[in-house]
Symmetry: C2
Subunit: 145 residues, 2 copies
DNA sequence: CCAATTTCTATAAAAACACTAGGAATTCCT
DNA sequence: AGGAATTCCTAGTGTTTTTATAGAAATTGG
């Protein structure tokens, strides 16, 4: 299991935005530079995040993006499902006349989906930032020991 | 999250093999027909399962495939990781000098991987078959109610 | 009016996935 | 011995998904 580049970039961008605080608008180009993400690709991703209600934007000179609400109120589940484009409705393959193998596949798929949703739905952006800070500072300590 | 066709087909085939018991060799072509899977594709998948130690084969007339061990001893984790080809080693991107965003991505990736492994490593083929049988029989009941 | 920015549409390039072709090797059966 | 059935193996092909890129319209601030 690996997140797509799209999701990875989106996550990295929103983490930056969350760290910089909700005051200022940050430009797509700057985010791209800071995180070393292809600029045009990031543009499209930020747009999707805006449409998803995670970001608000301001067009024109001095414009950019910022969070619509505090990190605590942004669920990783909502965020990542939006980024992965996994609105891929549960296959509506009629649940009748399935072979045993097909039933098994369904079962496994459901279990996996549930497990992932569990992880993501129980973590918000604030908690993720806390983890990151802790990880980063423990990385710092390494140098002093 | 969705399993690849390769994994889906492999799972369906091994479920069939497990149901038919460990006695007889079953031919690839028959499995393909029963589960409606492209024959040549399935061949390659079964071969991989043999190399992974899940199946043993007999070449030539009257040949085919069968499980190497009882379903109880086949972990879904081992099986599916083999099928997904997800030996995709944990990225060895040096864990130094990561941006906060990159750390966040790592964290999420690890959590998700762990959650999926948890599900899969705690289920064996026998348990999966039980689930399937229960699901199938409750599906049957539907017709009588 | 001009520069900076988001927004939008269209397309291209690359990678992953889902197969297919064809023949070699092995085994069984008569 | 010979032919039919089967796995084994290598290589290739087509399609879909992912990862971008190009370029111009719309909006805003100065």
């Amino acid at each position: 299991m690996r997140l797509s580049k799209r999701t990875e970039y989106g996550l990295r961008a929103i983490v930056q935005l969350a760290r910089l605080g909700p005051r200022e608008f940050v430009q797509s180009r700057d985010l791209a530079k800071q995180e070393n993400i292809p600029a045009k690709f990031l543009e499209a991703i930020l747009l999707a995040l805006r449409r998803g209600g995670f970001l608000e934007s301001k067009v024109g000179s001095g414009g950019g993006y910022r969070l619509t609400r505090p990190p605590r109120d942004i669920s990783l589940g909502d965020l990542i499902r939006r980024l992965e484009g996994r609105l891929t409705v549960r296959q509506s393959t009629s649940t009748t006349n399935l072979s045993p193998g097909e039933i098994a596949v369904h079962l496994v798929n459901d279990k996996l989906t549930e497990a992932m949703d569990d992880v993501l739905d129980n973590m918000n952006l604030e908690q993720l930032l806390d983890h990151v800070n802790r990880a980063a500072s423990s990385q710092q300590e390494m140098y002093y020991i």
